[in-house]
Subunit: 341 residues, 4 copies
């Protein structure tokens, strides 16, 4: 049965499996010290137009958020995030497990508002008892957000300005970064992300890899002995080659961007189908995740034919569902979906 | 250059890559809910002769130790381990990061001694101030140990008896379990491991997989909401299929045991070469890791031709090195090694 | 200068100092094993009409919240609290330091609403991905709240019912419990608190002691090896007598309730003065903390004569201030305050 | 019954209770912002001959160790301590609870050996895989040790030299510091302690206070936002005056040193009695704790008349016991003890 419930329901881009197979019997040192990790890092630095960047490969998204946030925060600091942010809701308390609080501020379709951020931090320092409170030590945003929405370049710059006025880093969770950068409706480039943020990651798991996220420290600011702390978090992969070869492949011949573009094209086609069928959109998403409101009876029928994600209850007779495209979505799959929607 | 420094310097058994490739475009649910995780779990339960076992797939060894130990211990407990145990020395404090102490007892070529264990725990409860001390809440052993040595079945049973007399679990780190079970010099089977221990893991990373460890709870004792705690540790893999397919392959047609046996056969051949060449063994290891004492000048020459692992200084003119075979070691590689040793 | 900024700005009730002095040279065992801790516990159990209660003395409020919450929660659980709750705002992340998330729900003048609580927990279990989220594992309320407000008996019972329907404990932070129980406007008794909650504490620091909070586990539910975990948190007092003698004194001849009543009487007198002077109340508090809105110029004058607590900005020309009475407030002090307000 | 089991079995020096009583009704701000904390800090800085010192008051010893160690260490570091050190054995895992490992090295009657320390750290950095290990980030010693023994000035300087050659701090646990400084057999002064160490604490709990330890950061090296982290650990006392007044009293007219000297004089008298009676000393302790070997039958008789601490089993018919003097021990008590020994 075709599945549109998420963007991590197929394997890896075939080119990745091909390279893993070709290089399979080559001896390589462990723990990310192989030449493919090195080569992938160089290619990413070039793609980011950020020669001073430091690149580190981790396995998954929650892991990356936990490791990056807890190693960059001071003990007395927490991370500011949208109330709907992955770190606040869907990581089972991974940030708190590492000893830090998530300081939630309002979410606007997944995004934070720069003015509300400003007020939040200013209020903190204006509070007479702020020494008894968790310091805002980092701002976390996801781009695209968990709702598929995007920040404009100007919004990102404003948020970064607030961060830097307090000397705290801006961290961009790019679990679906490719789908954001290749949206038809964005003015943000990978180089912008690298220039504006202090640390971000390029999601592999949801964009063509079997697993893997590439963390990019953009200001020569990788925490001291980061490697040791990755190990301490249980996050170090013995066969680092698995990450190195995948990212080396994704950043060769622009593959990452090309397959991201494909997912966006499929999403636009999907939006066309949904509009044509008269579905109401829950959110106006310019990326690969689409959220529509569907009649519960209709949904029951639909679920017999394809897999979609139930997002939340809309009202007593309607439900919000997520339909996602990915690098692997085909025209044929969308046509079938159109025929049963 | 041929590398004998460890058992995780090549990719995966070709059959694994073949299956990953064949199943690549199939839609599968995430987070270990795919059919290959289910099938692999069933095959492992059968191989363990333990139908009530609960099997959970994780990515790496340190991660597995941290997750298993910290979710099974009470807050007031620590884990007893050999001073040389991986959890005590080479995990950068991953156990302590999770809030628990490693209670180190003497190591005898990597093994703990059951009488010393008995005394250690008895002394704890005899201490008038034990309420101010960390309770021994689990015993951790590795089999094979970090030094390649093995416990006998009777030793394992005695250690388990001590554990169970205090109602605490015995955890066996089986990062290299296959190489232990296929040793020419063991009376321990996989079913013994499952019967004797309370929880153990079957190492994949070092035995033919790209990554992956299969945790087996043998007494229907998987901690409640284990899944949530795995997520909380940043240890949950989105594309659980990567682990499911690998372990399903390894436990089809006895592949895991066959490739482990191959590594042992290569190790025996290696031992023959080393003896013939007159090398002195640092430890008498019946598994895939061999430790010899080598003259420093000789080592310098050797390192120009093959990669080996410097283990520790032996004396001013000699060094202990580790030479490891694995599932991927070939006769040709050993012959070359013999020619340069 | 008279200070009305809080209820912990004087020492201890003189009877406490008298007893500490009388018993000073008596030999007593450490760590709470002295006879005064035992006697105090018995008196508290009697006052609570809860013979099966287990009483444990700790030093301070944040410490108590951290120890109680983190030892009662499972690893995968967080604590539900009002957004304004002390544990969420003013403990510098002490709960997160212990690895747990505070799940904030709306605050209504410091109180949570039982229907909102119900919806919050129901929504959690209705969420398809709740296994990736922090489980609600306890409900924390403060009584009186940080805003001086009180729950009715019926409200407490309803909240407890919700908790128990999910088999999670209700924890009442009673840092100012005496002032709540002695309010002119409450139907809640100490026995009610013990009957309704699963664990609560009787605040000493703010009600006549130099330091100390008496934790009461009401359902024979003190966590196993609690003593060891208290030590692990750095929260065990060597000279437990300091806590035992204080609480023994406070619970002899109803002293705790009498001095609490005095503070309430002083608060009522204060309210009369404030009303007479025409001040607008920010919150209608029936306990010892009063919150009024004051003109900024007036405040500047006032602060030259007495100390009050600036609570928050009200508007561009007004400020909310807190004026607190305590066990030690005198009529004379209030008369002086009245003369300068 | 007279008790000689420890040095914290009576209340406080009478002068402390007197001052607490005199100042009881004075209004003072909370959280250590009162004038007595300030004054006590100044007096301690003077006594340390260290004008740049930063002094912070905490409640108890384990708490102090946990707070100081965890706030001074980097995440990737552990603390080196004697295997018998309080932090390694008798704090129920308080250091590990804060995420850090205790790196135990051999204990010689409670002391570490500088050469063994040197080798331990050098070996760490010589290990090829040290990035996978816990970095030695601080050295912890107790002075006097848990066995009553003392370092010489030269030993302390050598240990500090090792620390500083690796740019890590030396932390001295001075829970019984007064008894060390006033020993007849020491060349170490308080000013030496301040000059040689990077941080240490002056124990109050065991030297005349109801509770309280004064942490002294000697090199202008108090961690940033230390106050917030103290709160986060649940270690901040609301009525900081309780600590301020006690230490202000102890450091007025040299009271701390005088009462320490008294305890030492009593210990010397005790040693005389023990020698006269022919008891064998388990350790040669120059401070207030004496350890002797006693026949089990004799011990049974003794325990009917006085309280002593059973330390450990010596052999099948003998036991090691601890007999401690303190600031409150009287000649009369010792005479009685002599009569029943």
């Amino acid at each position: 049965m075709y599945s549109f419930e998420c963007d991590y329901n197929t394997g890896a881009h075939p080119e990745i499996l091909k390279r893993l197979t070709e290089l399979n019997m080559e001896f390589m040192p462990g723990y990310g010290n192989d030449e493919y990790c090195a080569s992938a890092a160089e290619k990413i630095k070039a793609a980011c137009e950020c020669p001073e960047a430091q690149v580190y490969f981790l396995v998954g998204g929650t892991q990356t958020n936990q490791v990056v946030i807890s190693t960059m925060l001071h003990d007395y600091e927490g991370v500011v995030a949208a109330a709907t942010g992955h770190v606040n809701v869907h990581e089972a308390g991974a940030i708190e497990f590492s000893g830090h609080k998530v300081l939630a501020i309002p979410s606007h379709e997944g995004k934070i508002n720069v003015d509300e951020l400003k007020v939040f931090i200013a209020d903190f320092y204006n509070d007479g008892s702020y020494e008894h409170m968790v310091f805002p030590g980092m701002v976390y945003i996801s781009h695209p957000t968990e709702y598929g929405t995007l920040y404009t370049k100007s919004e990102l710059e404003s948020i970064a300005d607030v961060c830097h006025s307090y000397d705290i880093p801006l961290f961009i969770d790019g679990a679906r970064l490719g789908y954001g950068l290749q949206s038809f409706d964005t003015d943000v480039t990978l180089a912008d992300i690298a220039r504006i943020s202090d640390v971000f990651y390029i999601g592999g798991t949801k964009v063509g890899a079997l697993c893997g996220e590439a963390v990019v420290f953009t200001k020569n600011n990788m925490p001291k002995h980061f490697n040791t702390m990755v190990k301490q978090h249980g996050a170090m992969l013995a066969k680092g080659r698995l990450l190195g070869i995948q990212f080396d492949t994704l950043f060769t011949n622009d593959l990452y961007m090309k397959i991201s573009r494909h997912a966006i094209e499929m999403a636009e086609k999907l939006k066309g189908i949904l509009k044509e069928k008269g579905y109401k959109f829950f959110i106006n998403s310019p990326t690969n995740q689409q959220f529509i409101i569907i009649d519960n009876e209709k949904l029951k029928e639909l679920e017999k034919k394809v897999r979609v994600e139930v997002w939340e209850k809309y009202d007593d007779t309607h439900t919000v569902i997520r339909i996602a495209t990915s690098w692997s979505t085909t025209e044929e799959q969308l046509e079938y979906l159109g025929s049963v929607l």
